[in-house]
Structures are given as structure tokens and as C-alpha cells.
Amino acid sequence: MPFIPHTEEDVAQMLATLGVPGIEALFDEIPAELRCGDLPGIPAGLNEMQVARLLAERAAQDKTSQCFAGAGAYEHHIPAAVWQIATRGEFYSAYTPYQAEASQGTLQVLYEYQTMMANLMAMEVSNASLYDGASALAEAVLMAVRANPKSASKRVLMPRTVHPAYRRVVRNIVRNQGIELPELPYDPATGATSLEALAAYRGGDVAALVIPQPNFFGVLEDVDALTDWAAANGALAIAVVNPTAMALLKPPGEWGGRGADIACGEGQPLGIPLCSGGPYFGFLCCRMEHVRQMPGRIVGATTDSEGRRGFVLTLQAREQHIRRSKATSNICTNQGLMVTAAAIYLSLLGAAGLSDVAAACHGNTLALLEGLTALPGVERRFGAPLFHEAVVTLPVDAAELLKLLARDGIVGGVALGGDYPELGSRALLVCATETKTRGDMDAYVDAVATLLRG
């Protein structure tokens, strides 16, 4: 019996203690008509050797040779130490640290993570994670509506340059709370959110403005102007940013005259494997004044009975297990192990290392873009400066090109026609991170060139 340690003698003694003839008797409160029999849909058990072989065979089918896609999930080098430590049993198999004295390891890591993330975002406080970048933005929107004392409306302005999946997730999550999410168009030349479009909302009651940096097209937004607009119009500014980029770019806390009010985003670039979409983690930072509106776990430093520093989960009065239907969010389990990995990653990289990674991503993407746009019929779509992604227009259908590249294991980017019909089916979003060498990029450009030649 895998993972069940009972010997026959154990079972006999336990049943004798209970005075029942067999284990089945312990289920006698379940109405007989509800008892199920065999489970025909479920195969017989495998031993570890068999399941290891099955999974190895399945894994061998999946062969990404090179990845030039970003769009919210980025291939970065992850130091070997990160997961060798994060999967130590003491981190891996611990519960949420409710018993603080028996969980000082996890709690201190979370406190350190909160500090790192607040510093990276130049914000006052961070929580200890949400599920992913998209749900973090949804929580940020809900939080902003609660936290904005100046606004009676539930209107949150959402640029179309925000990741399309994030926009959907936000809509899906806030849908039933009467929140409006008018979309802001982008400048078709620059790819950045059009400041003119905001004019329509000037003076109206806006609870918050979402500001992506870089935006979904990889393009840099004019974050100062957007943040200042929000401040001037009584709206909170919600930054949704790439954390790697923040080593190089002005962080949300320094945007405009007073900084963003909330900063959130996807933590995956900080040491989390791509793994087809998860587990990742969402981060959320805010001003101290809003901390009691923040969703999710927060760790605080305190002292023990001998006056020594220690750490506990705190401000729990916000949370569902205390406040139930009045909680700031329903979130309970979050992404603790991912944040542990991120803390180790950030410790190994440091500010200088992260900034080098960001610079390498930026430089590589410019180099890739140069290579691609040297091909006949391939053009850079947007004029504004970018970080580590770029939209190019191809002379062929992007989705079809991607299918052909996939035959060689190449993830060639993301086709944009579905989410942005106005860009057409030939628009492709590409990304080159620090993992790419000159040779990798040349090989990719060559592969595209060959396919374009047909």
C-alpha cells in the first residue's frame, strides 16, 4: 500500500481499540446508497519505477529547442541553488506558517521577500504573494476600488496594452462586483497608451488607472504622465510591471510626482521555470496607508518573550479565516514556495546581477529585432522604445509561421492577430532574454528567413 505504513498487526490493534470488525464499519454513517464501488475510470496503481518511466516517456515527447516567446512568461537562467534549496523538505513540505515558532524559516524568507519586492518596486510594503500576475492585477483593481476614498465610482481604466489574458482575468474576477473597466486605446504608431484617450475621463470619477510597464507589446509607457494624470484626477495608479525590467526602469514608487499607489505583476521571471504556465506567483505592493486593504498573507517582524526578533503572519484581520465574507479577498493558500525560490534568486543575483540580466535581455531583443527586420518584408511595428519584447509585422501569417517553426522545436513567438485584430494576422510578438546567444538569434533569423523564402 503506497504511502500507508500500517502493518496487519497495527490494523488489528486499532480496530480492537475501536471495537469494530473492520475498517468498512467506520464508514457506516455514509448512507449506503451513496457508497461507490470500483472506480472504472481509473487505471491500476503503478510503482515508482513504472510511473517514473511513464513520465520520462511523456517528457521526452516535449522538446522545446529554443524559445523566443515572452508575452508574460520569460525564459531566464535559474541558478541551480534556487531549486535545490527550495525543494528541501523543510520548505517544500511545510504548511502555511500559522504556528510561527515552528515556522521561522518560512516566515523569515517571506519577510525578506517582502523587503526585496518593496525595494525593487520602490514601494512601501509588499504582501507575501498572490497566484499569478493576472490575478494579482485583479486583486489590485478590487483593492483600489476599496482603497480610493475620493472615488464613489467603481470605474477602473484599463489600457489595451495590458496583457490580453490579464484583462480577461480581471474582468472575470471583478465582473460580479459592479466594477467598470473601460479600455484605453493605444497610439497605433508608438504602441504606447494614448494620453489623448484619457481626456474623455478627465474630471469624471475614476477609481483607478492601470499602467503597464513595459506593456504587452514590449513598449515602454510614459509612466510619469499617466501616474500624474491619475493623481490629478483622484484616481489611484495601479502599476503592472515586469520585475526584471525594474532593475533598469524607473520603479512604480517613483513614477510621476507621487509614485504609483499599487504595484503588481507576475513574479515568474524571478527564478521560476516556465513550466507551461505555472506555478508562478503574483506580487502586490502598496503604500503603507493602504496596507489594511491589501489581500493575501503578510509577514511582520515582532519579538518573542525574550525580546528577540521573530516573524509572524500579521494583519490577519483582513483575511477570510477571520473576516469571512468581509475579507479583503478569498485568497488562502498562495504561492509560498515560489516566493521562497524568488527570494533565493534575488539573493544570488542582487541588484547588479538583475540589472545585468535586464540589460542583456534588452540588448538581445534589439539585436534580434535588427536581424529580423533585415529580412525582406519584416518590419518593426511600433516606434516607441521597448524593453525585451517587440512586435514585428511579417510578410506571412504569423500563426502559420509558428507552426512551421514548432516542427524544429522552436517557439518562435506569439501571434497577435487574435487578441489585436487591428494588428492583423501577420503581427508577431518576439522576445530574446539573456539566455540567447548571438548564435541562437542568428539561427532563429535564418530559420525564419528559410521559411519566408518558402
Binding site: H6, P43, S103, S135, N330, L348, L349, G350
Partner: protein, 483 residues
């Protein structure tokens, strides 16, 4: 006390092997968008980092080091094979938006898992994407709302929840715009059917139930409850937190539930990771089929692909950017395949055996079960109310003292219905020897409570931290380090 990583940082120190090779300094980032001052991040060597985090890990209790009878959390052994196999390099390297031809192996695993979860819950379809139980709950309630709305039934704005429910239930209902109405529990632990009958009506969207309930007993009148709620036009939501108790023995689908979530990090033994990641797949009966969140994995011929919004126009949509916690799902898949059809029901059997044995032995040792006449499910409640009255020792003190004995504390003060309660869940992966050692410790602490209550009030004594001041933490929030 450990120093913080920031306190061992030194300006200019770094883990040099992690720096990327220099690239051309080319940049098109305009000056006004650049960061001016470096963020304060750790500046340590690789050895510093390894030593720091290895040392911190040793300050945790975990399944791999301690018995962890944390009620409602199902802290059982997380197979190491699941970790190894979910981290096979090709799985880790998959981009979420890659062409499906590049992830057929992964998709096959996820599709198999969907099918297995259907079979074991009796539901018509399963979506694996929700990232945790609470997100599964949200998805479930959102589907209920979508269902009523699709029928034009827009006055159903009230969700019923037992008073003993997990806090996530009312919170999730609220996030979907529902008013929450609590239904009381009877002294025997079952729901108050009379109260329920009075509560239902045209305003009833549905009811959220955990079965076995958070009180550690099976809701015997579940079929009657289903009839009452269904007759009133409402739907039934199953909170899968306690599925471990009945896995392979009874199925929520057969009990009349319209929608369920599962906590794979409980029942399917994926690691809790110090607070996630979890996975909270949702399952639905036929009525809610159109509304399932996306993405789903479809098998078409021999090929697998993701179904998205385009394929599923009535879906409540996606709740995360991509496919949810795929790595967690892989671990659950490995676990499920290892147990298989014979092994899954044994989970419930031995979890139940362990819980009933432990309850009985604790009762014999003088502890007071909250529901002594009921079978324990996979967990049970002991109340220390008498002890508190007599000596002033609280459940919390008892919990803290257990840590000194090398046992993680049971869940305390939940469910709030039972005063001074400890909710104890041993799980099927612990041996009788471990349970007996725990019983001994409980009995010893009880004697300590009588002879020297300060031992409990001041506990823990043997850990890296003494009793921590939670009130101070909340009153004077210190949420980040500053130099």
C-alpha cells in the same frame, strides 16, 4: 535568531557565477524612464546565500521532519518521486503559449488527470486551472451565478453557508456579489434541516457545503439537503477540503452536488510549500458544463490541445493568465497514478482509521471529543473547554506546548463553533507508532497543565523562537527591513 540576508550583505559582494555575460551596451531606453538608484537587494556570495537559506530551512517544522496533525489541511507525505518527475527538464522548459505539438506529453498527463478526477468525484467534467481551493471556490460560485443569469433568474442573490464553514466559502461568495446567509449546525454536528428549510427561497442561489464537514463528521442528511436546495431552485457547491475522508468511498457527484472543487495539495498530496502553490480544480455536473473555466485539455484523435475562450463561449473564462499551476498538477498526476484504483480508496480507509483510533485513544486519555457519539471522518475535534475553565490553560497553550514535544500543533480555534478546540487530522500516511507517541505527549501535557500550567503558558521552550508577540506585530506593523 538568524540575521536577515540584508544584514549579512556587503556593498559590492555578489554571486559572480550568476551574472550574465556582457552584451553590447546598446539600449534605447530613454533617460527619463530609467531607474536612478539601484534597488536595495541582497549583496552576498553564492555560499552566503546557500548557507543562509539552508540554515533558515532548518527552522521549519515540515512533513519531512515532524508529525503535522493540522486539521482540515491534510498534511500527508508528499512523494519525492512526484517532485523529481514534475521537474523533468522538458516539462520545466515548456512555454505556456507554445504550439500544442510541443507539449503533447504534458497535455496527455493533464488530460489523464482530468479523467481521473472526474471518475473519483462523479462529475461530468473537470477544469484543472484554478490555482488553489479559494480560486476553485470562486470559479464554482461564479458558475452558479452564470447559470442563474443565463436562465434570467437574477433575483437569486443569496448564498447559504453553514456556520462551521471555512472562511473562504463566505469570502468567495462575496467576491461573486452574493449575500451570505449562515445556516446553523445541530448539536450532533449535522446541518439544521429545519433552519435550512426556512432559509431557502427564490433568493437562494445555492449552498456551499463541506462533507465531511469541518466538524469532522459526515453530513448524514446530504440527500435531504440536496433535495431542499434543488427544490428551491438553488445549486449545491462542494468544498473539497475534506475529500481525503471519502476518496473512492463516496462521490460528491452522487450526493447531488452540482459543482465541486478539490484541493490537490491536500487530497492528492502535492506539497504545501510553506503556503502554496496549491491547485484547486473544479468539477461540474451537466447543468454547469457550459460555464467551466478555461483552459481545458481536449483530446482529439491522438492529439491533445488546450480549449480556450474561443472553444467555450459560455465559460466564465480564465482566472489566471495561463493554465494554472501546471507543475502542481503534474505532481498530483504522479501521485494518482501511483495509487491507482486500488490505492485511492485506501487513502480514505486509513485516514479514517487513524482519525477514529486517535480520537478514541485521546478520549480514553481523558480528552473530550466534540462529537463523541459520531464516527470521526479523517479528522475530529477535541475541546479543552473544561481544562480552560478549571486551570485557565487554553487550546493555544496546549498547541504551543506540543511543539516542544516535536509535534506540529493541530488546528486551533477552528471551527469557531466549538470552544477551545483542537481540530486533529492525522492522515493515512502516519503510523500507529507515531499516533501513540502523539497520544503520550498529549497525556503528558495534560498532566503538566495540572501540575505546572506555566510550562504551557510560556511554551514553546525548545524551539528557535520563544512565544512570539502577535499582538505587537499587528499593532506596530514592521513589514519590511530597513537599514
Amino acid at each position: 535568531m538568524s540575521e536577515l540576508i540584508f544584514e549579512i550583505s556587503r556593498r559590492g559582494r555578489c554571486a559572480r557565477a550568476q551574472k550574465p555575460a556582457a552584451v553590447s551596451g546598446r539600449s534605447e531606453i530613454p533617460q527619463h524612464l530609467r531607474r536612478k538608484a539601484e534597488p536595495v537587494l541582497p549583496e552576498v556570495s553564492e555560499l552566503d546565500a546557500v548557507r543562509h537559506y539552508t540554515g533558515l530551512s532548518q527552522k521549519n517544522f515540515a512533513i519531512d521532519t515532524h508529525f503535522y496533525p493540522l486539521g482540515s489541511c491534510t498534511m500527508k507525505y508528499n512523494p519525492r518521486a512526484a517532485n523529481a518527475l514534475a521537474m523533468l527538464p522538458p516539462f520545466l522548459a515548456g512555454h505556456p503559449l507554445a504550439d500544442a505539438t510541443l507539449s503533447q506529453g504534458l497535455l496527455a498527463c493533464l488530460h489523464d488527470l482530468q479523467e481521473m478526477l472526474k471518475a473519483v468525484t462523479g462529475m461530468s467534467a473537470v477544469c484543472l486551472a484554478p490555482a488553489a481551493g479559494a480560486q476553485g471556490e470562486f470559479a464554482g460560485v461564479a458558475m452558479i451565478r452564470a447559470y442563474h443569469e443565463a436562465r434570467g433568474d437574477s433575483v437569486r442573490m443569496e448564498m447559504l453557508v453553514p456556520d462551521a464553514a471555512h472562511g473562504t466559502n463566505p469570502a468567495s461568495a462575496a467576491m461573486c456579489g452574493y449575500r451570505v446567509r449562515e445556516i446553523p449546525t445541530l448539536a450532533d454536528g449535522d446541518l439544521d434541516l429545519e433552519a435550512l428549510k426556512l432559509a431557502v427561497g427564490p433568493q437562494t442561489a445555492g449552498i456551499m457545503l463541506t462533507n465531511p464537514s469541518t466538524l469532522g463528521v459526515f453530513e448524514r442528511h446530504i440527500l435531504a439537503i440536496a433535495a431542499i436546495v434543488h427544490d428551491a431552485g438553488g445549486l449545491l457547491y462542494y468544498d473539497g477540503a475534506n475529500l481525503n475522508a471519502i476518496l473512492g468511498k463516496a462521490r460528491p457527484g452522487d450526493m447531488g452536488f452540482d459543482v465541486i472543487h478539490l484541493n490537490l495539495h491536500k487530497t492528492f498530496s502535492t506539497p504545501h510549500g510553506g503556503g502554496g502553490p496549491g491547485a484547486g480544480p473544479v468539477g461540474v455536473g451537466d447543468r454547469l458544463l457550459p460555464y467551466l473555466p478555461v483552459p481545458l485539455v481536449a483530446k482529439e484523435g491522438d492529439a491533445y490541445r488546450w480549449l480556450t475562450e474561443r472553444d467555450r463561449p459560455h465559460s466564465i473564462g480564465r482566472l489566471s493568465a495561463f493554465a494554472g499551476n501546471v507543475g502542481v498538477l503534474l505532481r498530483a498526476y504522479v501521485y494518482a497514478r501511483m495509487l491507482g484504483r486500488e490505492g485511492l480508496p485506501r487513502v480514505a480507509e486509513y485516514a479514517t482509521l487513524n482519525a477514529n483510533y486517535l480520537q478514541k485513544k485521546l478520549e480514553l486519555a481523558g480528552f473530550q471529543p466534540a462529537f463523541p457519539r459520531r464516527r470521526a471522518s479523517h479528522e475530529f475535534i477535541v475541546t479543552l473547554k473544561a481544562l480552560e475553565k478549571a486551570i485557565g490553560v487554553r487550546a493555544w497553550d496546549f498547541a504551543k506546548r506540543l511543539l516542544d514535544y516535536g509535534f506540529h500543533a493541530p488546528t486551533s480555534y477552528f471551527p469557531q463553533l466549538v470552544p477551545e478546540c483542537l481540530l486533529i487530522e492525522p492522515t493515512e500516511t502516519e503510523s500507529k507508532d507515531t499516533l501513540d507517541a502523539f497520544i503520550d505527549a498529549m497525556a503528558k501535557i495534560r498532566r503538566e497543565a495540572e501540575s505546572d500550567p506555566r510550562l504551557l503558558h510560556d511554551a514553546p521552550h525548545e524551539l528557535s523562537a520563544k512565544r512570539l508577540d502577535e499582538v505587537k506585530a499587528a499593532r506596530e506593523p514592521n513589514l519590511r527591513w530597513r537599514p
